[in-house]
Subunit: 343 residues, 2 copies
DNA sequence: TATCGTAGTGCACACGTGTGCATTGGAGAT
DNA sequence: ATCTCCAATGCACACGTGTGCACTACGATA
């Protein structure tokens, strides 16, 4: 059994209350006693019991992070930011992945409730509203990150996808592209719609037409989904001179498929990604993409949650807050002027 | 405040002991009473307090997972396997990343101790032996995964890197390669040594010489490290006809650098990866690699840990166990017969 | 009818920590 | 010498759950 404050009390000849106070830095305890107790605690390898402390203080010093998939490189980077911030503040992370499976979602929510997590960060693009409602009902402070149904939650951190998508589109338009395709991911709901919207806005503002057969959605955001989509785009006549992909992973799949089909990028078709995952610098050609400040997003989400947790104790109602971060266009080698051949 | 068993007791007119027993399925409680209590619990949205339960039972139903980096695609897949197994068994995951920083390592170990994690899975290729010793001393059941200093721990899950590397090397030899380079990652300690060893064994068994200037190590296992290494290899005369990379990420960097240098893969140089991260299927050319059963590794690690946790209660000393899983060669497009041009 | 066994339930304590209040002792003021 | 005050510490209870033991009531047995 681990040593407890009672063990320390016995050894130093004081009451356990005194030990508790000394270790928490209560100034009522004399310096000598405190020192003696601290020394004993150190020597005995004392580690406070989070369970006992939680029980008493009603604070778990843990926050829950819900992802859709642990292995997604985009969300991994966000978790990186969250973790950095949390560890520094002395919080531990319960991480769980929903895998878009209702059964798992339910289990995860239950686990968060049982552990009385101090708050929850919801990084899952799709999370059933039923379970989301459970979380809200339980009274968790919740921060959602790039979530599709943000209107249900009061606090959120967002990337400005509309703006980002406009930047990408503008870049292509400035290069001279007119026949631009958009490849979306239905699974990511609002995010893909925002990016599509930004694309459309920018096209309209440039006076360019939007062709319905150049907008295509896949049911997933992995490389394989991008790969599969290319067949569709290559059939369209006239062929698009550029493809705006929902994210980098899909763009990587698109690059691969185009390479297999013998279509040169960027000479015949330009391709853009979104997110700037670390891999995107190492494709051939290197991907032009939108650099989303992933780590900052995670950090901001965590900071917001921590401030919610702190203020909740005093003032239960703070006004809703939505923070929107902007990304930055990153021009690399997968985009160029359209070639007359392909028009 | 959340509802407790006392609230349920008050509402149903029984003692809290009865509620406790009813909810835990104790057969001493009559069926009618149990039903009444279960109904009330359901209606009142009761969720047991993990803290209180932990305090009493001395089991936290949480296991700690220590990574070096949350965003590493290889370990992410392992975590995937762990999570799957853990959630199913009703365990939650405390995940933390050491980032190779001693300060963080210390904090992480402390957090695990305070939360009285039921066990720890150590997935960090490098973890200071000092902190590892702290974990052992505290008495955690520990399972290490692909860890460099496994001899310090009693339970481990391994991938057979020597065998895997031999498979890769044999494949290249069978294609006719003689001048094969090995690109290592010093940060990963034993793992890179095993892979180097497998390479050397297979070369020797084929009667081929190993050139010292064809073995090169970088200080990291990311794409950028692979990218940087190519300069060195291209200087060597005669130039290698194949490069065996420590992992897929480095191989991706190597592919990129070779492409930039105008060297054709696989016509002029063959390149192999290791791990089979999902991305490796989408490079151009697609990477020949060793498919490591990452998810199985995670699952096995978790299962082993759970069995340790269960048996520890009865029998404190089980014999050390080391499980070694073998990977499978995956031949794709980045390897081919050596071209006479490049010899 | 007295005794016994048993099914069903409550009592009381424990887990480790935190905290309001009471208690003690000593120094300073009158 | 007595009183006052304050610094330092202990006492006792609480948090929510689990569990050994005692107790009650009721049917079965002698």
């Amino acid at each position: 059994m681990a040593t407890t404050i009672k063990d320390i009390a016995r050894k130093t000849g004081v009451s356990h209350s005194t030990v508790s106070r000394a270790l928490s830095g209560n100034s009522a305890i004399s310096f000598q006693t405190s020192e003696k107790i601290r020394a004993a605690a150190q020597e005995m390898g004392y580690q406070p019991s989070a369970a006992a402390r939680s029980l008493k203080t009603n604070r778990s010093n843990a926050i829950g992070v819900i992802l859709s998939n642990v292995a997604d490189p985009f969300f991994s980077e966000i978790v990186f930011g969250i973790e950095e911030c949390a560890l520094e503040a002395g919080y531990s992370l319960f991480i769980a992945a929903s895998q878009h499976e209702p059964g798992r979602e339910k289990k995860i929510v239950q686990a968060m409730m049982e552990h009385r997590t101090d708050g929850v960060i919801l990084c899952s693009s799709s999370f059933s509203s039923e379970q989301g409602f459970q979380l809200l009902k339980y009274g968790f402070p919740i921060v959602v990150v790039n979530h599709q149904a943000a209107e249900n939650f009061h606090y959120s951190i967002y990337h400005d996808d509309i703006d980002g998508s406009r930047q990408i589109t503008r870049h292509l338009i400035e290069l001279g592209h007119k026949q631009i395709a958009y490849l979306g991911n239905t699974l990511s709901g609002r995010t893909t719609l925002d990016r599509l919207h930004g694309f459309e806005l920018e096209m309209k503002s440039a006076g360019l037409p939007i062709y319905g057969n150049l907008i295509h959605n896949e049911n997933g955001g992995d490389a394989i989904n991008g790969y599969q989509s290319v067949e569709t785009f290559l059939k369209v006549q006239p062929r698009p001179t550029a493809i705006i992909c929902f994210n980098d992973m899909m763009a990587i799949g698109v690059l691969k498929a185009l390479d297999s089909a013998g279509v040169k990028v960027p000479e015949e078709i330009s391709v853009t990604g979104f997110d700037n995952i670390s891999m995107s610098a190492f494709t051939s050609p290197a991907l032009t993409t939108l650099d989303q400040p992933k780590r900052s997003i995670g950090k901001e989400a965590c900071q917001l949650l921590l401030s919610l947790i702190r203020t909740q104790e005093n003032n239960p109602s703070i006004e809703p807050k939505e923070k929107i971060l902007k990304g930055k266009l990153l021009v690399r080698q997968s985009t160029a002027k359209p070639n007359s051949r392909s028009i």
